[in-house]
Amino acid sequence: MIEIINLKKVYSGSSGDILAFEDINLNIEKGQIFGIIGPSGAGKSSLIRCLNLLEDPTEGQVIVDGIDLTTLPVQKLREERKSMGMIFQRFNLLKSRTVASNVAFPMEIKAKKKSEIKERVKELLKLVGLEDKADNYPSQLSGGQQQRVGIARALANNPKVLLCDESTSALDPETTHSILDLLKKINEELGITILLITHEMEVIKEICTKVAVLDKGRIVEQGDVVQIFSNPQNPTTRKFIERVVNANIPDELLARGIDLDINDGSLVRVSFVGVAASKPIISSLIHQYSLDANILYGNIDKIQGISFGTLIIELTGDKEQVSKGIKYLSSKEGVRVEVLNDGRNN
């Protein structure tokens, strides 16, 4: 649906050129929810603006549904934009227009009939759950409601693609959740391809099927969300994932891993994905190697219906057996072991 080839953006200013991003190659298939995550300053906003050419890429191609947008004359480009919806971090609604009139706006631009617009506005407000707010002004709505208006507006002309620019970053966690649910519903029911950029791994975890990690203007890693979560390769990716997965690990516990003084045990972090999460691995470990396992922390989460968890355990027992135990854990599919403190050297 969206193919991005060798995309590069350079801002030239009086104080020299600034590279926003380069070598961006992505292929977003129809019906996917594709997330691009990166720290602030990674070039995310510039990237998403280059996809509907709100900003001109310096090099490369953006092909949407077989049409290369970068070569289109301006009128044709405007026509193509009508089949791409976009929502924004700060909603960007017209404050002089009512909710219904805001949703009608893109259809006015497409010169649709008044009766048709009225009908469609009703339909859209129902879809986003704001039928009773049709005559309100944006300033009378909460952030979450405003973003719903933004979504209704973006869907007005039945777009093939929905671009989401940090669309939940200005919202509280609960509202974020409800907006993400709405996006998922739109994706499933209307089959609209969604491309979103965010700096929140929670967003990726909750709705994306594919993810690309952008850091310092380059894509450092991309793939299935589950695969990236279970086996991140790049340090930036790891940082993002740890923020979500370790969200509940008390700091003292992580700190304790460094200056550990308990017995002569080894402190290990075990991450597991999929089937591994449902097998009694720890139990077998204890029996087979006659070790003591003290579970200091544990959590389990689901991403795209696949279990995903972390345990921090302290293993005590014969040093050789501990080594064997760790090897045993590592050998299991879907399990990753990280020794936080090695008691075997004590």
Binding site: M86, R90, K95, I109, P138, S139
Partner: protein, 224 residues
């Protein structure tokens, strides 16, 4: 109450009544004519700026130069300098209709600046949203920039209207008609202090009313 005051000021005094009407006529007509040129001028300056929807260095330079030059000429000088032009357009340089010419020319850059600053306040994100929907520059101007800045525009145009009342008195000084003319001819040259005071009261009331309704309208239009 208000009627009583107006009655006191104008009763048996056709002079002041017709002066009031003349002032209103001059000011409103030049306001409308000035807006017809000033609004496009202000919009033009903004949209041709660097990075805006119709970026054009050349046009931007020309338009801002027009505003800057006309803005820097003191009104009384502009008034005199325009006499041949006024005579060419209206056929005379004396009287209320003739006054409309310099008032309009004076109003144009004033309105241009006000429109410029009002439109610049429109959130760039909203413009971006309209662009992302495939809006043309014309649609962005008419459906986004002007409606979104309307409350600010109304306040700015109220200020213009009040300034034009001030300018109209200056035109009055060289035979332009209106309340300013009366104040100078009767109040100053003939020492009729009562007429001077009455014109002052009338002008103050006029300005107050315009400001009041301007504020009211702006508040009614403001949805933020």
């Amino acid at each position: 109450m208000m009627e009583e005051i107006i009655d006191f000021l104008l009763r048996g005094n056709d002079l002041l009544w017709s002066g009031t009407l003349e002032t209103l006529y001059m000011v409103f007509v030049s306001m409308i004519l000035g807006s017809l040129v000033g609004i496009p001028l202000g919009v033009g300056v903004v949209v041709t700026e660097d990075g805006n929807i119709l970026e054009s260095k050349g046009i931007n330079f020309i338009l801002s130069t027009i505003i800057n030059i006309t803005r820097s000429i003191p009104f009384i000088v502009l008034l005199v300098a325009l006499i041949p032009f006024t005579r060419f357009i209206v056929g005379t340089s004396i009287g209320t209709t003739a006054s409309i010419v310099p008032l309009t020319v004076g109003a144009i850059p004033f309105i241009g600046r006000i429109v410029e600053s009002a439109i610049k306040e429109v959130d760039g994100g909203v413009i971006e949203a309209a662009q992302s929907m495939g809006a043309t520059p014309w649609e962005i101007v008419t459906k986004v920039l002007l409606p979104e800045s309307l409350p600010t525009l109304v306040l700015g145009l109220t200020i213009t209207l009040i300034s034009l009342i001030g300018y109209s008195a200056i035109v009055g000084a060289i035979g332009g008609g209106g309340l300013g003319d009366i104040a100078i001819r009767y109040g100053y040259h003939r020492y009729q202090t009562d007429i001077m005071i009455k014109t002052i009261i009338l002008l103050v009331v006029m300005v107050q009313l315009i400001q009041h309704f301007g504020n009211l309208l702006a508040r009614k239009l403001d949805r933020s």
